[in-house]
Symmetry: C2
Subunit: 263 residues, 2 copies
């Protein structure tokens, strides 16, 4: 152990091990490990370097219990430092929602001055607004109805709000945005969302939909748009995200409950 000392505030993300040998692992893209991650919860400890839970016989490999454990043993290469100015409870979800949003924003080149739309204002969407504002983007929340407008603009700092159920509001925001972080995890009218993107705009999907969505070719060909995806992120960029959060005092909105309240 060379990276941390006793008492350091640290965080463990969505995975605790990967094959460590494939080109993606070697490039720091652990969440895209070609042989598959060992997730932090309910995942078989399938690699020899996993620790005590590994067994050559796959049926005897132990399962990870993640956030439902009192203790956790994790290789230091899968652990990040939490900036000391952030409260641990509100920083915890950064290890999942935070990196899931931060990683594609960096990879797809979201930068100062860009017009960023955020579709859906749940756990992921609120992180996208916070990161976008901190990066110097002009941030617009897209949501159904107006009930989240106050939260989006007054509390989270978004600069604009579009009620996507209002045709006039949608018409007034055609071809507006350079990037859209789409967190909507149910099927939706993707053509309408594409229409809000400007030429060369990226619709970055981080909400996993249970069903395939129908997408018409012309909705993205006509103004050279892209439908992009991203899945969690690497440990190194997770540390970058945490440092960014420390610098900008960004945490998640949490409600702390007791374990017996979970069910």
């Amino acid at each position: 152990m060379t990276k941390f000392k006793v008492g350091d505030p640290v965080g463990v993300g969505c995975y605790v091990d990967t094959c460590r040998e494939c080109s993606n692992c070697k490039a720091g893209k652990g969440s895209y490990c070609r042989k598959g991650m060992v997730m932090t919860y309910n995942s078989k400890m399938k690699y020899p370097h996993c620790g005590v839970g590994y067994n050559e016989d796959a049926s005897k490999q132990e399962v990870t219990y993640g956030g439902y454990s009192k203790d956790i043993v994790v290789d230091m290469d899968y652990v990040c430092k939490i900036p000391k100015n952030l409260p641990l409870d509100a920083a915890a979800p950064l290890m999942c929602a935070g990196i899931t949003i931060f990683s594609p924003m960096k990879y797809y080149g979201v930068k100062k001055g860009d017009k960023l739309a955020v579709a859906g204002l749940g756990g992921l969407g609120s992180m996208a607004v916070k990161f976008g504002v901190a990066m110097g983007c002009h941030v617009t929340v897209l949501s159904r109805g107006t009930k989240k407008k106050e939260e989006a603009m007054s509390r989270l700092g978004a600069h604009d709000y579009v009620d996507v159920t209002n045709p006039e509001d949608v018409a007034a925001h055609q071809s507006c945005y350079n990037h859209m972080i789409n967190t909507i995890a149910v099927p939706h009218d993707i053509a309408m969302y594409f229409s809000l993107l400007d030429i060369d705009g990226q619709l970055i999907m981080v909400g996993v939909n249970p069903k395939p969505m129908e997408i018409s070719t012309f909705s993205y060909i006509a103004q050279r748009k892209s439908l992009c995806g991203s899945f969690i992120g690497g440990v190194k960029e997770c540390q970058e995200m945490l440092d960014f959060c420390g610098k900008n005092k960004i945490t998640c909105d949490v409600e702390v409950i007791k374990p017996d309240y979970i069910n």
Copy 2:
């Protein structure tokens, strides 16, 4: 007229005018003109600078007849030089199929050493193979059955061929390609095509499908892939494409027929 002289071999592409004022026109992205192109055929001459066919009253604007005319009058800014070493008949479709393929290959960064897949081997697909080979890519043709294998590899110079109806062939080429030019203009199993792309791979759609296609989120999120589009290209990059073709002796495969054979 300052750009051409009598006798120069020239070509006119898919459009003969645009608004010339929007940010896309000013950036040389004429095919994405925000007010709409005047296409070379069957398009209303809706801009004052169109020439004699324009009328303030939209119902009296003349229509373009493009390639079915004996003569054509076009502003020099919408005309390209055809390299003198290329035969005019086989160079003609470069102004449509050529630029439609060349533009996204440049925009999405296809480069020497990349593994490029070409889905569908019609007019657009054969140009993608020729450009890919000339750019130094490793080019694989994806097609149904094996009847196009000889043409793809022996005549067009592709390096590999995958019969997408053969499950073993598909299984052997999972996560193989950096880019895929998809020219298939009918609905198809997009998840299977995504599965052939490597991490960060781009599925570049240039075939316009008549119906929306069903696309599952996980097929592109899991390895951070993109579904991209592109539509024709600008005049300046069309000239670049023609110069590239002249240098690499690339033309289209044509069958020359008489006008009375068209119908």
